[in-house]
Symmetry: C2
Subunit: 216 residues, 2 copies
């Protein structure tokens, strides 16, 4: 009886692609009206399909992590686990340079209203698992000691820090400076194993904790 539906999953996917392009043009112009125009649909359609603007941002957050996970999975593994970890770091950097606004949405929080929850992050965790596995190979090879998840956390913090500084233009005023500092940062990791600095025990293992989860 009714007219045919336009607000289908297909349109939803189309809007997601268009919104990614809108976001890529800058965080400033990312308004619902602009997205509706870019996607050749209407504002209420977006609200029906994504709930609110944060819902759309959350989907883009997942899109970003899926892309990142794909990029991480494409990094080949070799017999040199330390080199593999560094290659993963470079893949992260390439991703953030190729998708500046998207990586800002993922790693920084440029929209005051959208703060991904821990669950959101866990669902976007595949790229991290790749890293944890590489770190685990490092530990097995004796390149580094400690808990793989903890070491991965620290390594990710360094990578995110570098990405944030480079995106803000604070890592150096030219590509040469940034390259040099990235290389230096990576060279300072995994030189030898960690040495306890205060109360640095190992990560306690509980029965409920996922082996490769990056949380807790």
């Amino acid at each position: 009886m009714p007219r045919l539906k336009q607000r289908t999953p297909e349109l939803r996917a189309h809007v997601l692609v268009a919104a990614e392009a809108t976001l890529a043009r800058g965080v400033e112009g990312f308004t619902t009206k602009q997205i509706a125009t870019d996607a050749e649909t209407s504002v209420p359609a977006i609200y029906e399909m994504f709930g609110d603007k944060n819902g759309l941002l959350r989907e883009l957050f997942f899109v970003g992590f899926r892309k990142l996970a794909t990029a991480a999975a494409e990094v080949p593994t070799s017999d040199h686990p330390r080199a593999d970890v560094l290659a993963l770091a470079r893949a992260y950097r390439s991703f953030s340079l190729a998708h500046p606004s998207l990586s800002k949405l993922m790693f920084s929080q440029p929209f005051a209203s959208f703060a991904p929850t821990v669950d959101d992050l866990a669902a976007a965790d595949a790229s991290r698992r790749t890293l944890v596995k590489a770190v685990r190979r490092c530990i097995k090879a004796g390149v580094v000691h400690g808990d793989a998840v903890d070491v991965s956390h620290v390594f990710l913090a360094l990578v995110h820090g570098l990405i944030g500084q480079e995106a803000a233009g604070w890592l150096g005023e030219g590509k040469a400076s940034c390259d040099r500092r990235w290389d230096l940062a990576l060279s300072m990791f995994f030189v030898t194993g960690p040495r306890p600095v205060a109360s640095g025990g190992a990560r306690p293992r509980t029965k409920t904790s996922e082996p490769d989860s990056v949380h807790h």
Copy 2:
């Protein structure tokens, strides 16, 4: 002839204090109307004294870095330069935990409209100089090799990364996890000198570069 001025530098300072308190209550409610109410003044007064909302945010950005510089300056220097650098990192962490929204404003970019320029950052550079000096002492003591400015950049990236992850709740679900990972991160630095990883030459020195500047 005219009535006496109310929009004085004193009121400006008062508004700045009130705005800091408003910001501390969360990034969400940081609106000009709210700030005017909190500071017991009017919205146009804020615009006369700060230009626009970004002007006020920029002042808070400077306030934050002045506080951070004070905290860094209060960290005592010892005969163990590596311990001094780690103490500085802990001071950064304490600051970010004591002033979450302010440190978000400083290190992340929670307001889409406000992106501090490189000049803004240079003006808020005192805390970094303290770090560079401590790193320089490390280099002199042979704890680490390389260019002090570059090493400081890397260390700051790590610290900012950890701060960002902890603020987002991604560093662990309890204080214990966060503490352990902070300790691990710091323990992994300065264990031995860096080892070149690719084209890792030293930072080229130009005649115009400030010795302790953190840029370029």
